[in-house]
């Protein structure tokens, strides 16, 4: 039960070698997920059933199932089909990295679109009425009034989802990807020292969480400059 400090000192640099993959997964999925979220949101508020319905199904399915299932369906499941293996997406879906990014983006997109929707619904109706009364078109109201106000309202929840996404990147290790968690699991399998390795890694993730919180705190402060004197 004694901590092997030299093992920790040895393993931390090894695990940090995987931080690049963790960051790539996080940044790419967050970016693609946000685009997807905006598209889903626009579909939902379009008022046209043939747009809003598919968006709602996507959100329902991806929020209602474990992300691990989503990753496995995409990585292990899709190659079952000939047409996928012959499609232009195959170079992406053949690689565990591509599959992880696709799964994480589809997943976070569903969550974020609900967060954004909350922000949009939170915009004061009176402000939008004032926009109408001044003759702004629906598009102008959405761009100049709804978007900036909703963004501020949605930010705290978005920051939480971003942290969830960062943590979810660790699941990529289940499809053979050597991110930090993947490396840690390999080291544990060799040394059988779960305490030292997993606790060190947990601390690295906590530092990342802290960094994300700080960054979003800054952004929130900037966006909220007009809220209270």
């Amino acid at each position: 039960m004694i901590f092997d400090l030299s093992l920790i000192a040895d393993s931390i640099p090894k695990m940090l070698a995987g931080i690049g993959i963790t960051f790539q997964l996080m940044a790419l999925s967050a970016f693609l997920g946000l685009i997807l979220a905006v598209i889903l949101l626009l579909m939902r508020i379009s008022g046209k059933w043939y747009l809003s319905w598919p968006a709602q199904v996507h959100i329902y399915v991806f929020r209602g199932t474990p992300i691990l299932v989503q990753i496995f369906i995409i990585y292990y499941g899709f190659p079952q089909f000939e047409f996928i293996r012959e499609s232009i997406f195959w170079p992406i879906l053949r690689e565990p990295f591509g599959c992880a990014v696709v799964a994480l983006s589809l997943n976070t997109g569903a969550y974020v679109s609900e967060i954004l929707r909350g922000g949009v619904l939170g915009v004061d109706r009176g402000v939008l009425e004032a926009g109408s009364a001044l003759g702004l078109s629906a598009r102008h109201k959405f761009i100049y009034l709804t978007t900036p106000i909703a963004a501020r309202l949605a930010l705290p929840a978005y920051s939480n989802d971003f942290i969830s996404l960062m943590k979810a990147t660790s699941l990529a290790s289940t499809i053979t990807l050597m991110d930090m968690t993947g490396i840690a699991r390999t080291i544990v399998a060799q040394t059988f020292a779960p305490y030292e390795i997993f606790i060190s890694l947990a601390i690295i993730y906590m530092v990342l969480t802290w960094g994300i919180q700080k960054t979003f705190g800054r952004i929130e402060k900037y966006l909220s400059r007009y809220v209270k004197p």
Binding site: M1, Y60, V61, R63, G64, T65, P66, I67, L68, V69, Q70, F72, I73, Y76, G77, F78, P79, Q80, F81, I163, K167, A168, T169, S170, L171, S173, T174, T181, A184, R185, V188, F192, P194, Y195, F198, I199, L201, A202, Y205, M206, L208, T209, W210
Partner: protein, 231 residues
């Protein structure tokens, strides 16, 4: 879907494992959440610090890491304890179900801590004061005023915690829990149809999520009946 024929039994029992883990982890999660919230609200600085550390640690660490650590960690711990009594023992295996149940309850409990704390503070002091002014005792005020009011405030977030729990049970398959995921892996081994088998797993979880969502919606409607009437 023909390939699934013959596996339905296994999927059913796998679902029962999911359900069992869910129920036990739900009870533990409520317990951890209440203890955490009570500690945060207490005047004891040490309790506050411990509770704060609890939420920071479990909200900042990936779920899978917590599960792996608890599973392998507790095995090593129990092995070393057992070896004190009987040096012959090489390895004590911890059932993945219990390590996993405990792990996901700890994780979601850290979120529930904040929910319960927020709900406790969200009860309007006016209602409490009014109850006291009417001559209700501390206990009566707590049971008849504070608990129902807290329950109503906490319910939406609590529903999300339940959804997190049911989805996190999938992660326990990583340490070898014999649930639907595990069934799918076996089924793929003999049928070679991974897509079909994992879609069934997804459908089962979607079913569980739907039941939870509908239940929470029903409870919310029930809880809001007092405010709805006022409109």
């Amino acid at each position: 879907m023909d390939a699934v024929t013959g596996w339905w039994d296994d999927y059913f029992w796998g679902s029962m494992v999911v359900l069992q883990v869910f129920i036990f982890s739900l009870l533990l999660m409520v317990l951890f959440g209440l203890i955490g919230a009570a500690a945060k609200l207490s005047d004891n600085r040490v309790a506050q610090k411990i509770s704060a550390a609890y939420t920071v640690i479990f909200r900042g660490t990936p779920e899978i890491l917590v599960i792996l650590l608890l599973y392998f960690g507790s095995a090593i711990f129990l092995t070393s304890v057992a070896q004190v009594f009987n040096p012959e023992i090489k390895f004590v295996d911890v059932p993945p179900m219990w390590a996993g149940t405990f792990a996901i309850a700890l994780i979601v409990g850290s979120y529930a801590t904040e929910t319960f704390r927020g709900a406790f503070l969200g009860v309007k002091p006016g209602s409490i004061e009014a109850a006291r002014a009417l001559g209700m005792s501390n206990l009566q005020t707590f049971v008849f005023i504070r608990i129902p009011e807290m329950w109503r405030l906490a319910l939406p977030a609590f529903g999300n915690h339940m959804l997190s729990l049911i989805k996190d049970t999938a992660l326990i398959s990583i340490i070898g829990l014999n649930e639907t995921f595990f069934v799918a892996k076996q089924a793929i081994g003999t049928t070679g149809e991974p897509f079909t088998m994992y879609i069934v797993v997804g459908a089962i979880y979607l079913g569980f999520s739907t039941i939870i969502t509908l239940t929470v919606m029903g409870l919310e409607k029930f809880g809001l009946r007092t405010t709805e009437g006022a409109r």
